[in-house]
């Protein structure tokens, strides 16, 4: 909502002060200043001048020669690039020496051989607004008594003004008007606020014989006020009105529309005008639409209506207007209109909201109705203001208003406990102080001991409860005047075990040289299939872009995109990790998806063992229970280089390498080692249990054993057999060599292990070591078919 200082002063003449400070006060009232501008200042040297002659430039097409009189009776030749002037027009003229707002200094110049002694100005060149395309024609703008050569500001009665663009919140319908902003600001400054008396003259003809209005649905329409204007002629509105409309961001249209907008901006009351000739017998009815009904609105678009929509119908039950949202085409004012039905009503905000949302038809008027317009005296005031402005332009009004009541919001007094208000705000205000704050903005307060009985004014539809009223007290007292305190709960703060573990996992992965990546959670259709994954991602209803229309079920596509991006920027071997949400199809009977937190590690340029090594270090750090790699071909992964990660008997993810076919589809070069875990399930499951084993004080013996075994036998099975054979005496096993090649059959390999034997209660003898070594060999040979390599 934009307001100007001069307009505010029409309601509170004593508003005064530094524009920046006034802006701070508006912000502190909850009317945040988004922009402030000083307007209507005209630079020195620009004067009123008159066009005496116009003639073509002998050597140029795009400029003409203009003779002007700037008050000294001397004819002054100017070269001008605009052609919208006529002889006799009054124009703004920048004399030689004038420094224009853009910094340019006007000097005598020669243009294609002709002297130019100044500049005829367009409105925007001197910081003004007008509808003129070209030079600002001032014939209808100058004030009485203006003379040629007079400084322009004086000649057009322009005074410097302040324009504030305010952010008005949805709970402040009153502040969607100049008067409402003035009321707040006047209260904060402690100066008087009052509405002007609008004197109107009417004919003696009573309106009641002309209109017959019914409200069939009183919940929809709280009040319907109307009258009739005669002798209507659609023309241009006066310049002062146009100027204000433009300042507040509205385009002047014609005399009737401009008055309508002016009254809405000034008093916050939207209004609608019908061509009375199109309404048989002046009969109107207000009701809800029926499914299947339609209306061609002012913009010539046919709108299908549903039962919620509020409509106005004529005597034949034909819909002629979409209540509070947009008028109908058939009853629109036209150049031939002579009689107008002026309507001002109060519409139920939720009803208007639903219609606006469904038809996507927001407007200045419906925005005010949605927030709750004023159903009280303001309607009568706005009617009078409209009639006053209309009669000033030669229109006549009939006598009185038709005023049909519907159901308006309940405004019985609200009990407000002084203690509750102070308890909410953290203040120690007295009942009298609260009374003063509330009364200053039009609330009616009756004191009853420790309770105020408050009647909320009709211009505050959204304000209805004790808490709402507490907010008003706080707002007028000033949030910044409330003492600051810091509450402390009884319990200490902290991270949950899950959150601590997640940070630990991140630290481990950083230590492993992986950078954390956070790709967007959206995928394009086909991204999952391209990664070899099922196409069962949840789709978005209203994505802005198709490539952001599917939710991921795996972190794989996002990581592959990130790797491909970096490879295309000459960074091939990136090491990435990501911890983030994935969205799996909903569980049986559930509507929202099965949302989980996953961990992914992607190491470009490395083979599967690099991912297994990361899994192993996570296993050690988190002390996971019984981690097994179970042979599998997980979707999207290399079918012979991947495994399921099974933790305590439950599959919690996959490890290995990304399928080369998938890498190719994503344009990734080289191999990518891959680990993806359901981190939520892993960290919510048992882990971190460590038990103490005393460190043996006795010496250990190391021996090496190598086995030849077929490729179909997992090394993990050899190790398991070694551990079984070695029992408690085997303190450590390490695979230190894998050999394939000459001397070993095709399809097999040699696995060499270093075993450390140690007892906790004695030094092992040579024969102890020989026995346990043999037990290890026997177990491996028996369980796996491996052969001890000589």
């Amino acid at each position: 909502m934009k307001v100007t200082l001069s307009w505010l002063r029409e309601f509170a003449p004593n508003i005064d002060g530094d524009p920046v400070e006034l802006g701070e006060i508006l912000s502190a009232l909850g009317l945040a200043v988004e922009e402030m501008e000083i307007i209507g200042e005209i630079v020195d040297g620009v004067v009123l001048a008159k066009v005496l002659d116009l003639r073509p430039h002998p050597d140029a097409d795009k400029i003409q020669l203009v003779d002007v009189d700037r008050g000294d009776g001397q004819l002054l030749q100017v070269c001008c690039g605009a052609f919208n002037m006529a002889v006799g027009d009054l124009i703004p003229f920048a004399t030689i020496g004038t420094v224009m707002p853009n910094g340019m200094e006007i000097a005598q110049r020669e243009m294609r051989g002709q002297i130019s002694n100044g500049m005829c100005c367009a409105a925007d060149e001197i910081g003004l607004v007008s509808g003129d395309d070209g030079i600002y024609i001032l014939n209808d703008v100058v004030v009485d008594g203006a003379g040629l050569g007079m400084p322009l500001a004086e000649a057009i009665g322009m005074q410097a003004d302040v324009l504030w663009d305010l952010e008005v919140n949805a709970n402040r319908p009153d502040a969607m008007s100049v008067a409402g902003v003035a009321r707040d600001l006047a209260a904060a400054l402690g100066v008087e606020f009052r509405f002007p008396e609008y004197e109107i003259t009417t004919t003696n003809e009573p309106v009641h014989g002309l209109l017959d209005i019914q409200i069939e649905d009183p919940e929809l329409c709280g009040r319907f006020v109307a009258t009739v204007l005669r002798g209507v002629h659609v023309g241009e509105s006066p310049a002062w009105m146009q100027q204000r409309l433009i300042q507040l961001g509205m385009r002047p249209i014609n005399s009737i529309v401009d008055i309508s907008n002016y009254v809405m901006l000034e008093l916050g009351q939207p209004n609608h005008t019908f061509d009375l000739a199109t309404i048989p017998n002046g009969r109107l009815n207000v009701r809800r639409a029926r499914d299947g009904e339609a209306l061609v609105t002012l913009d010539d678009i046919e709108r299908s209506l549903v039962t919620n929509d509020g409509v106005i119908t004529d005597e034949s039950d034909r819909i002629i207007s979409l209540a509070g949202v947009m008028g109908g085409a058939t009853t629109e004012i036209s150049d031939s209109t002579t009689e107008v039905l002026l309507e001002m009503a109060w519409w139920d905000p939720p009803s208007i909201s639903r219609t606006v949302k469904r038809l996507k038809l927001p407007s200045e008027a419906s925005t005010r109705f949605r927030r709750g317009a004023d159903w009280g005296d303001n309607i009568d005031r706005a009617m009078r203001r409209f009639v006053q402005l209309a009669t000033e332009s030669g229109i006549t009004a009939v006598s009185g208003f038709v005023d049909v009541p519907g159901t308006t919001p309940d405004r019985t007094s609200v009990p407000v406990r002084v203690a509750k208000v102070n308890g909410l705000l953290g203040t120690e205000l007295t009942a009298d102080e609260m009374d003063a704050h509330l009364t200053s903005i039009g609330f009616e307060v009756t004191m009853a001991g420790d309770t105020l009985h408050v009647v909320v004014p009709t211009w505050r539809w959204d304000t209805a409860t004790e808490t709402d009223i507490a907010e008003e007290v706080g707002r007028m007292f000033g949030y910044e005047n409330i003492p600051r305190t810091v509450p402390k709960g009884d319990d200490p703060g902290g991270l949950s075990q899950y959150q601590k573990d997640r940070r630990l996992v991140r630290e481990v992965l950083l230590g492993a040289g992986c950078d954390e990546t956070l790709p967007m959670p959206f995928l394009a259709p086909g991204d999952l299939a391209k990664a070899g994954l099922p196409e069962d991602g949840v789709t978005l209803t209203n994505p802005l872009h198709a490539e952001e229309s599917v939710l991921r079920t795996s972190l794989l596509p996002g990581q592959l995109k990130a790797i491909a991006y970096n490879q295309s920027h000459r960074n091939p071997d990136v090491r990435f990790f990501e911890i983030d949400h994935v969205f799996l199809p909903a569980a049986e009977g559930e509507i929202p998806p099965d949302e989980r937190e996953h961990l992914a590690v992607a190491i470009a340029g490395e083979e599967a063992p690099a991912a297994v090594a990361v899994l192993d270090v996570l296993d050690r750090v988190l002390a996971l229970p019984n981690v097994q790699l179970s042979p599998a071909s997980p979707a999207g992964l290399h079918p012979t280089r991947s495994a399921d990660v099974v933790i305590a008997g439950r599959t919690r993810g996959h490890v290995g390498e990304v399928d080369p076919a998938v890498l190719e589809a994503y344009g990734v070069e080289g191999r990518v080692a891959w680990l993806e875990l359901d981190l939520g399930a892993v960290l919510d499951g048992p882990h971190g249990n460590r038990t103490y084993t005393p460190v043996s004080k006795f010496p250990s013996s190391d021996i090496d054993l190598a086995f030849v075994v077929g490729d179909d036998v997992a090394a993990s099975r050899i190790e398991a057999s070694l551990r079984k054979g070695g029992g408690v005496l085997l303190s450590d096993v390490e695979l230190f060599d894998v050999y394939r090649g000459p001397g070993i059959d095709e399809g097999a390999r040699s696995l060499a292990y270093r075993l450390r034997f140690q007892a906790t209660d004695r030094t092992l003898t040579d024969s102890d070591v020989a026995d346990v070594r043999q037990a290890c060999i026997d177990q491996v040979v028996k369980k796996t078919g491996a052969v001890l390599r000589g």
Partner: protein, 338 residues
């Protein structure tokens, strides 16, 4: 001349001779040979000791002292020579092993934590220090958690202002990507009895086209306190304490009246810039009684405040990023700067 005197003279000569020969020794092997010659089984000193028994009482004592003195001199001379030779050998080794430490092949590179995570961790740590715990919730929400329980009924104009991204599940507009972290307030209050002191960081979504200053998915942090006697002054003080801890003591805060359907009174909170102007950081307010009631909490017994603001923006501000999309491009040239 007594026998003892003659022996002493011989030993003195020996010691003097040894000193010269030790000085000439070129390496530790030569020194070992000299050690054996001067002090070994066949050395003059050992031989002299064996002859002691042949001497008379007086001579024996004097000769014994002379032998010990000579032995001590020789031992110390040999040790000195060994130290000299060892130092020389070490110096040769040092010179031979000289390394240019700037010849770096293969570094240990620690990865970089994403800026968003760094900002989130810092925020969490500050609030943990103030007695808060960290709550989390799903990114896909239902209309109840995202709107209705937060006092935003179906017709409310505020619904439109959230620019919500809906998903194709359930009834139309029933399931959505959460448009704020406020649903975590509801989930927390439904599951936990007051007192509640939580912050809830997480990703939120709007139908925004990605550009230099917008992303359709971004991160916010939400705070919620519900306890007995919580006031707007508590909210103001908590924001002030947080800002001082996070941004530093010179940064000031202010609250301005505002409107959110789920808080009443509502406010924007601003922080001061070095030039004295104010920057709007986020929204806050006293938890609306309807929101408390929706979660089964009696607003006469408990009061609370809530606040929320963007995390990504803090990262953008701190490092003066000129394009917020850097946060989701995952370019290692960006990631590794932090």
């Amino acid at each position: 001349m007594s026998n003892a005197a003659a022996l002493t003279a011989d030993l003195d000569a020996l010691v003097a001779d040894a000193a010269e020969r030790l000085a000439d020794a070129r390496d530790l092997d030569a020194l070992a040979a000299l050690d054996a010659e001067f002090l070994g089984k066949r050395s003059a000193v050992t031989a002299a000791k064996k002859q002691l028994g042949d001497l008379g009482q007086d001579d024996r004592k004097a000769a014994g002292q002379a032998i010990n003195a000579a032995r001590t001199s020789l031992e110390s001379a040999i040790a000195e020579a060994r130290e000299r030779l060892a130092a020389g050998a070490r110096a040769v080794q040092y010179e031979a092993e000289r390394l240019d430490l700037s010849e770096k092949l293969g570094e240990i590179r620690r990865g970089s934590l994403h800026l968003n995570t760094q900002a989130r961790d810092r925020l969490e740590d500050v609030f943990v220090g103030m007695g808060f715990t960290i709550a989390e919730g799903p990114e896909v929400e239902t209309a109840w958690y995202n709107f209705e329980a937060l006092n935003i009924p179906e017709w409310h104009p505020a619904r439109g202002s959230f620019d919500t991204i809906f998903v194709d599940l359930g009834e139309p507009e029933e399931v959505m990507l959460r448009s704020h972290t406020s649903p975590v307030q509801i989930r927390t209050m439904e599951n936990q009895e007051p007192p509640i002191y939580i912050v809830a960081p997480g990703r939120t979504f709007r139908t925004d086209t990605a550009d230099a200053t917008h992303l359709p998915a971004f991160n916010q942090i939400e705070g919620l306190v519900v306890d007995r006697g919580i006031t707007l002054g508590d909210l103001s003080g908590t924001m002030d304490e947080f800002v001082r801890a996070f941004f530093g003591g010179e940064v000031k805060t202010r609250l301005r009246p505002s409107y959110f359907p789920f808080t009443e009174p509502s406010a924007e909170f601003d922080i001061s810039r070095p030039d004295g102007s104010w920057l709007e950081l986020g929204g806050c307010g006293m938890v609306h009684p309807n929101v408390l009631r929706n979660c089964g909490i009696d607003p006469e017994e408990w009061q609370g405040f809530a606040f929320g603001f963007g995390i990504d923006r803090l990262a953008v501000m701190r490092y003066e990023l000129d394009d917020i999309r850097e946060l989701v491009n995952n370019d290692v040239r960006f990631l590794r700067q932090f």
